[in-house]
Subunit: 178 residues, 2 copies
């Protein structure tokens, strides 16, 4: 995931122009190498619709869309076998995917990531900090009900000015009342 | 300055326990080396009161306290010659300090830093990101009236898990309506 230095994931109107306008110098910021390590991608309806709007489907790995309103019938035929819709909650979903043989899922999208973190289901978090401050917009993270302590695993600086921070998360949920 | 990964500078009740409880392994995160490069420190009343509450005055460099409510008479005698109170706005204050021979001031404290950034008076920003997410509290930065683009100058990782990001700021004010 990427956030502005002041903690926003998108503008108030969901636009990502501040992010996509940063020259990448042909660097994918480790994205391909990272997605190669996962069995599939889990996202919410918002991210899914956003990706659909790109026109071309960018993922080679299986994608799970978590939604209470979408059903499998809403998925375009061209994406059959590539996209599965589920109304499962995070923990049962992870259990199901583990039963299917997944060992590592890439959880994408602010709200979905937050819910997985709250349930202690995220082991590693890779957050890329963009060299810009927006001042306002959609915050990347919301309240946790307590502190979430992190262990810094790695930090990588890119020519674009992006700084990629990799953290390990605690196995347990945050303790309320910090 | 230091912020949590999710962009907070303090808890809602101003506490910094989340920051001070991170083991530093004896590392000052470059603080002494940094303050050695400045002619003095500019802070707001909130930071000043916070530092006063430490009991021992930690600064060897001159400190300017920006306040409309405090006067020089409010400064304890023990700090005479060390602390100056001013009601000047950022630009005239910087002009005065430059006239006195200052070439580089360390601007501290969330709100004061924000006002200096808004007026295009900050050249370099060093932000240390602590390995913790608070979920709520006092945000480090507020709205700018436009994007503030940054140029990453350096990134340093510490054993504490702190990541120190040094940015160069644009010389001009943010353009509204980004």
């Amino acid at each position: 995931m990427a956030q502005s230095l002041d903690g926003f994931v998108a503008r108030a109107d969901h636009r990502l122009d501040w992010l996509t306008s940063i020259p990448t110098h042909g660097d994918d910021h480790g994205y391909a190498a990272f997605t190669a390590t996962v069995d599939g991608i889990v996202m919410g309806r918002g991210s899914y619709n956003n990706v659909l709007s790109f026109g071309e489907w960018p993922y080679t790995k299986p994608v799970i869309v978590m939604s209470k309103s979408l059903t499998q019938r809403d998925v375009p035929e061209t994406l059959t076998g590539k996209v599965r819709v589920t109304d499962l909650e995070p923990a049962p979903l992870m259990k199901m995917l583990a039963d299917e043989g997944w060992s590592r899922a890439y959880i994408d999208g602010g709200l979905v990531v937050q819910s997985f973190i709250r349930e202690g289901l995220v082991q590693d978090m890779v957050l890329t900090v963009a060299p810009v401050m927006l001042g306002e917009g959609k915050r990347m993270f919301g309240p946790w009900g307590g502190d979430v302590g992190l262990e810094l695993v790695a930090s990588t600086t890119f020519k674009s000015g992006m700084v990629q921070l990799k953290y390990r998360l605690p196995a347990s949920n945050p303790e309320p009342g910090a």
